[in-house]
């Protein structure tokens, strides 16, 4: 049902272990171009690991990940697939951006410099061009008046919006969000979700977000994937998952979350 012709992201038989603990077990997973996918599930089910593997922050133990039609974790050597080298990783990784739960802003740089450093050093943009792009993006996330503020002078919500602008400055095709509102005070969650909603309107961005904001997932996502013990236990449209879940674990999880949330 989720078989797509030209998936932007494709996990094929991907396995990830930490020691003897298998976190993801022969996972098959596809995301279409421009699709917005919400990933939900209990803590420890492998959601973060999934995103981190796609961002090349974790190596996979088995299987292949494809991005935008070419292998990410592997490369062609003649007609054989071999593990990717650094250069290949860097080239394919350029299509992906990530926003972290704890922001991970560079504390020694102002907001605008956080957004400039990579375009400058990686893309080789001129200072002016990089600045212009950064200022535009910071304006888009509602921080046009905070360009010269350091991360420590910003609230959590503002920090996370800088982090989103920073990732966008590299013009990725795919954006990964890992519980980006979990570390925020409740009153700051809205301003970050608002920015993500704005990104959803962009026609050339594939979005994967791990989230506990069920309300947001329901109205924002094209598809919701419920993860349990390293597998996709159930997936479907938000209506299917939230209104008529069939999997026992999904039902349990949702009732637990919706009770406290």
């Amino acid at each position: 049902m989720n078989q797509v012709d030209n998936p932007m992201v494709r996990f094929e038989n991907v396995t990830k272990r930490y020691g003897s603990h298998t976190v993801l077990d022969k996972l098959d997973f596809e995301v279409a171009a421009n699709e917005k996918v919400a990933i939900i599930g209990p803590s420890g089910s492998g959601k973060t690991t999934l995103l981190r593997m796609l961002m090349t922050l974790e190596e996979i133990d088995d299987g292949i990940i494809y991005v935008d039609g070419e292998p990410l974790t592997h490369m062609l050597d003649g007609d054989r697939l071999v593990p990717a080298n650094r250069k290949h990783l860097s080239r394919v990784r350029a299509k992906i951006g990530m926003v972290f739960q704890h922001f991970n802003l560079f504390p020694h740089m102002s907001a605008v410099n956080n957004c400039i450093v990579a375009p400058l050093t990686v893309l080789g943009l001129s200072k002016d061009a990089a600045y212009e792009r950064a200022a535009e993006l910071l304006d888009m996330v509602g921080l046009g008046d905070k360009l010269d503020h350091y991360p420590g002078q910003l609230s959590g919500g503002q920090k996370q919006r800088v982090a989103i602008a920073r990732a966008l400055a590299m013009r990725p095709k795919i954006m990964l969000f890992d519980e980006v509102t979990s570390a925020l005070d409740p009153e700051l969650v809205g301003e970050v979700l608002k920015v993500i909603r704005k990104l959803g309107d962009a026609h050339d961005l594939t979005l994967l977000m791990v989230t506990h904001e069920m309300g947001f997932a329901k109205e924002f996502a094209d598809r919701v994937c419920f993860f349990d013990q390293g597998k996709i236990a159930e997936q479907g449209t938000p209506e299917e998952i939230f209104s008529a879940p069939t999997n026992e674990r999904t039902i349990q999880f949702l009732s637990a979350v919706l009770e406290t949330g």
Binding site: T56, N104, H108, V117, P151, Q153, A163, R166
Partner: protein, 246 residues
């Protein structure tokens, strides 16, 4: 935080008054010995500065090789660090001065002093730099990777600027160690402060005045280093302190 600079200044004032008092009491010897001792102090300062540059360069290279180098690079860095930490600076100095010529390498005493002491301190500095780099949150590396920065770009733009602030105080200690260590160069005929003191002492036998003066001069040099490092720390941490202010 607020008290420290004031205390520090009080100590400086104390030392200065002590010196002034000493100068008055021993006015004649002060006038007699000071020019020669100052000439020695100049050499001490030169060796310290040169040694400091060698130390920082060697420490940075050794730390980066030890952490990110190839197997051979790592091995080389470990070899350097262990050899220079595991043997005495005096032996290193003598070895470079007296043994290297047998291998056809004859260096000026000043060069040997700067190299030997610099490499000696650099071996300790390498571990300081490594520790500072490792103290930076892993999330910084991950954010940089997500932005597609290479390892060296991450190190240079993201990690080292933050690690720099962490390692200024331990480097202050190392530079003071270096300053004190420069007294060893008097053993390879360099006319530093310690050398001049011994020479004057042999010629005049006015041990008390000479070595008291020398003591105070070393102390002043050490305090200059401390003040400079404090200033550097304040400057370097400005962005980060602003960062923590909220």
């Amino acid at each position: 935080m607020q008290e420290k600079p004031i205390q520090h200044r009080l100590v400086i004032v104390g030392i200065l008054s002590l010196m002034a008092g000493f100068a008055v009491v021993t006015y004649s010897s002060f006038r007699e010995f000071l020019p020669e001792l100052l000439r020695g102090a100049l050499v001490t300062i030169q060796v310290t500065l040169g040694g400091a540059m060698v130390a920082v360069a060697a420490a940075l290279i050794a730390a980066v090789f030890k952490m990110y180098g190839s197997l051979f690079g790592r091995w080389l860095a470990i070899f350097y660090i262990e050899v220079f930490r595991g043997t005495s600076a005096l032996v290193q100095l003598f070895w470079m001065f007296f043994v290297l010529p047998y291998f056809g390498i004859t260096l000026e005493p000043f060069t040997v002093g700067v190299l030997a002491l610099g490499l000696n301190i650099g071996a300790y500095g390498a571990e300081v730099i490594r520790g500072a780099i490792q103290s930076i949150d892993k999330g910084q590396w991950e954010a940089a990777t997500a932005l597609n920065l290479s390892r060296m770009q991450t190190l240079r733009r993201i990690i080292l600027p933050q690690a720099f602030v962490v390692m200024i105080p331990p480097w202050g200690n190392l530079f003071i160690e270096l300053l004190k260590g420069t007294a060893l160069v008097s053993m390879i005929t360099l006319g530093d402060l310690a050398f001049k003191a011994q020479q004057l002492n042999q010629n005049t036998l006015r041990t008390v005045e000479i070595f008291s003066l020398v003591l105070i001069m070393y102390l002043c040099l050490a305090m200059i280093i401390t003040s400079l490092m404090r200033a550097l720390e304040r400057r370097a941490s400005r962005g980060l302190v602003r960062g923590r202010a909220s």
